[in-house]
Symmetry: C2
Subunit: 237 residues, 2 copies
């Protein structure tokens, strides 16, 4: 059990909570999954993924909230080795594009970081956004066009946590041009590719995020992103 | 325990799984939370939210994956009654904008649906996206500018699930203009408002999503959003 899950259990015993806050088990388990979740690149084993497990993970994604209950996501399951090799070639070229912008320590640090496990993972799950689902009058989207895109991301996080809870790994690959992925998978022009997720059993989940372990960037404390009543106001300001 | 969680436990006992797929407890608990989660509008009690619980929920959000480990989110906690009343006025006006586009059965159905619990909830959590966090060279964002925005949504889903596990409710309000919320909360021009989340204890979480219960839209079966190897291909096509 992680520290935060332990803290959750302790805090739950504190008197003064409202009655519906006393059942700590679901929260502790969820926090454990949230803390163990990693963006996996190098740890995929390539082992078989039993169909019932894959089904549960996809069902979790499909159970996400969506603007106007539009469920505007699609999931393309890619096992074909040729398709995945072609995608990987493109991703490695885009990796070089990014690398060419870096200098000195940044270039050196990036050179050690693996950014994808496309062919080593058991399968790829390409996730897309269909703005026509539930249109024209999507409840809650008239003022914010991107609200549908946001829904797709909520589904991805459900998928990611479910996979983690099932002992699987997920790696979100974003070193690609949407147009390349669209053509590779025959995605219609009005549907937008949002993510390529590498999915499958892993040898382990790292304790620390790859980018932190390699010195690319450190995680910030929560307090740095909290504001009170208005943007820029700390608790005591 | 819900049906899917029970199914998860049963499936876990099937022989042939890899060793890291045998511990079913985290998955069953997570699926229960994912299934109980609702977009809450009418069920907020307004009861006090203990600080340690709020802290755990926000920590869960802050533990989400983010492109290049940029953690580009901010959370503005709004308890002030005046701010919330002002936001609610704006949201009700935008509700009318949407309603004016509807006719017949759609207009009638929508008229019965409550779209926000801004003042009834215990607090509002405005979530924003800061593209300058970790810039200029955000690892994984050079080809997809919106990848940072996607990260913010992953944090929101972590928050939503954590709140659900803690017995709280969350309602995502999207009937607003970003510029209004920016001015209301003093959000800098380069930072983008992504969501207003109503948060707090609830009397109950509905069994069925509000929009489905009111006949606005029905959830689709998973199979409708699955594609195999390429977009548009079913399992047997």
């Amino acid at each position: 059990m992680t520290g935060i899950a332990g803290a959750a259990l302790t805090a739950m015993k504190t008197p003064g909570h409202t009655p519906n806050l006393t059942d700590s088990a679901p929260a502790a388990g969820l926090y454990d999954v949230i803390n163990r979740r990693r963006d996996v690149r190098g740890e995929f084993s390539g082992a078989e993924l039993p169909e019932p497990v894959l089904r549960r993970v996809l069902t979790a994604a499909h159970t996400a909230p969506s603007v106007g209950l539009s469920q505007p996501w699609d999931f393309i399951l890619v096992r074909d080795a040729g398709t995945r090799r072609a995608f990987r070639e493109h991703v490695l070229a885009e990796r070089s594009v990014f690398a060419s912008k870096l200098e000195g320590e940044r270039a050196e640090t990036f050179s050690k970081i693996k950014v994808e496990g496309i062919v080593e993972s058991t399968l790829g799950v390409a996730v897309t956004y269909d703005p026509n689902r539930g249109a024209p009058e999507v409840l809650g989207r008239h003022a914010i066009a991107d609200a549908g895109l946001y829904s797709v991301c909520l589904a991805i996080q459900n998928l990611w946590l479910a996979a983690t809870a099932e002992g699987l790994g997920v790696g979100w690959v974003s070193f690609y041009r949407e147009e390349f992925l669209r053509r590779l998978l025959g995605v219609p022009s009005e549907v937008r590719p949002v993510a390529w997720l590498c999915l499958g059993p892993v040898r382990e989940l790292a304790d620390t995020p790859d980018l932190e372990r390699h010195g690319w960037r450190q995680r910030m404390p929560l307090e740095d992103v909290l504001h009170y009543e208005a943007y820029g106001r700390g608790r005591n300001r």
